[in-house]
Amino acid sequence: MSAKEVLTGIHFINGDQACCEGALAVGCRFFAGYPITPATEIAESMSKRLPQLGGIFIQMEDEIASMAAILGASWGGVKSMTSTSGPGFSLMMENIGLGICTETPCVVCNVQRGGPSTGLPTLVAQGDMMQARWGSHGHYEIIALSPSSPQEMFDFTIRAFNLSEQYRLPVIILADEVIGHMNERVIIPREDEIEIINRRKPTVSREEYLAFKPDADGVAPMAICGDGYRIHVTGLTHDERGYPAMDAKGQEEMVSRLVNKIRNNRNKIIKTKNMFIDDAEVVVVSYGISARSSMQAVRDARSDGIKAGLIKLETVWPFPEDLIRSLTPKVKAFIMPEINGGQMVLELERCACGACPVSLVSNYGGAIIHPSVILGAIHKAVKGKQ
């Protein structure tokens, strides 16, 4: 059997399959998961493909176990991921927190569906944006990416692994049912064209090694199980040795480290795709499937003679605070289309800080936002300013 690691070529596949291929192309060799619509196809693809490449697929008893297993696998030195949707994402929160606290690289793909609770298993929503940001208890920073097409499912899965390895944390892919289930053209590049970032290994001796002492970039080199460093890894607040340091000072030092490694590197992490924003009076800020509706609406607005622009958030967390703040003096209005009751719009409002009006275009899930609705909001925003 000589299955290919990277299926170089042009494919017609859905977003879930593209996610699987992206993961394999960047070196993921462990998947633990639990079936859930609309993310099941990621697990199914993985169960077929991983054994071909000498990797492990295991279907766990629930999503709590799935998340725990991928953390364990990561400490075993293998790039690992899981996929799920809302109900499973809720169950994963506990061990996402463990992954944050123990600085464990791994990837979680949440193919969002309507909620709360069992909600709309087969229909689209973008209701887990804030859950991805704050869902596990305590204070921390997170990285989350939001693809708008099967091609981006492939590309962003690669980037998610690279970011997780570079910054040592679980990175979340916030896809949605439409992206997961839609078939589109996906171009898989040649193996040598795929950027792969691996976690830094320690270069010092066991005696000198401090498992959680960061380098200049804020990230500590990572010894894995069996490297001979005899690491101790705990979800308790810990010091640079990894030993419990349970007081205000220990907490301040550890949480600062977890927060600062993301905040201080945010300019390298945050990516947006900007369209017509240089002269834009109305800027639509959107992500995922809603960004595609927004793109159409912005083009239509331009045809109508309106100076509209689009910021498509590729990284939803951290939020591109600096970019929004820089545009606020120049822009007459921001519009955020999203399939929830208004989540990322809160971030947009925070960054616009009352200096320019922000409006929400949304539904609670079950259907994508039609471009005409966004176009209507653009027209309204322009009129409002006259």
Binding site: S66, G76, V78, L98, C225, R230
Partner: protein, 290 residues
């Protein structure tokens, strides 16, 4: 008079090579049985003669969960109940590492009960040592799935209205390949049982009935730690190789101890390799440059 040499030897211990000595003293209460079990685990590890770098310990949360913080192995103190799924991922990513899970009865069988039955069913090649102190010690002595019917805890002040699990029977019915129970007073048997479990391929399980004088003992008027130990020991009856369903665990009647299961069964990895036509030894961590 203490000589200098004796004073020095009192400061070091033959098991120091497996201890994070800088973390001692430990947090366990005086009279707690966990120290005894910890020492049996360490002695068993030494008995195997394995390279410590090829062994990992994974624990959950609770008093017993703190063992992972004192042992000088790659050690992982995970979330409450999740030691087994974490250990599952670790073992599958690194089959060459021997993985030991240590945790309490509440961690393994209440919040982690679902994970326990499935890890046993899959026959994950993991050794589990469960310290059963009949209650939740870390949080101050609440009812656990091991708490005897009628026993007093801080959440069952008038007596527990629930029948407890028989962990050994549960483990064997889920497919564990090695199942044994001892009290914390039967140190020699415990040590050799854990050693045997470590050498066993597959899901091996050793339960230790251990005194918690600060909480369980105090609330149930069981006297000092030593009296508790003697009580458990006095109740224990060695009956190896009996049907695990007859291995009674009832502190009011009989604590049946011994080895109840020692069978061979293909592990998850054996079956995964078989059905996928793979060679397990060829798997290597993918990220490393070596």
């Amino acid at each position: 008079m203490i000589t200098q040499k004796a004073a020095k030897s009192a400061q070091s211990h033959p098991m120091d090579f497996l201890l994070r000595t800088e973390r001692i003293p430990h947090i366990w209460c005086p009279g707690c049985g966990i120290g005894t079990v910890f020492s049996a685990v360490i002695a068993a590890i030494k008995n195997t003669g394995w390279d410590p770098n090829s062994i990992a310990m994974v624990s959950g949360i609770g008093c017993t969960g703190r063992m992972a913080g004192y042992i000088k192995l790659d050690s992982f103190h995970t979330t409450h109940g999740r030691a087994l799924p974490f250990a599952t991922g670790l073992k599958l990513a690194r089959p060459q590492t021997k993985v030991i899970v240590v945790s309490g009865d509440g961690d393994l069988f209440a919040i982690g009960g679902n994970h326990f039955i499935h890890a046993a069913r899959r026959n994950m090649d993991i050794t589990v040592v469960c310290v059963n102190n009949l209650n939740y010690g870390m949080t101050g002595g609440q009812q656990a799935p091991s708490t005897p019917l009628g026993a007093k805890t801080t959440t069952t002040v008038n007596g527990s209205p629930e029948e407890p699990f028989n962990f050994c029977y549960l483990a064997s019915s889920c497919g564990a390949t090695y199942v044994a129970r001892w009290t914390a007073m039967q140190v020699r048997s415990l040590r050799s049982s854990i050693t045997e479990a470590l050498f066993k391929t597959g899901f091996s399980f050793v339960e230790v009935i251990s005194p918690c004088p600060s909480s369980y003992g105090r609330r149930n008027r069981m006297g000092s730690a030593l009296e508790m130990l003697k009580f458990y020991h006095g109740r224990s009856v060695i009956r190896g190789d009996i049907d695990p369903k007859d291995a009674l665990m009832d502190i009011d009647k009989e604590i049946v101890v011994g080895k109840f299961v020692d069978i061979e069964r293909p592990t998850f990895l054996d079956n995964y390799a078989k059905f996928n036509h793979l060679q397990i030894p060829h798997w290597r961590p993918m990220h490393s440059e070596d």
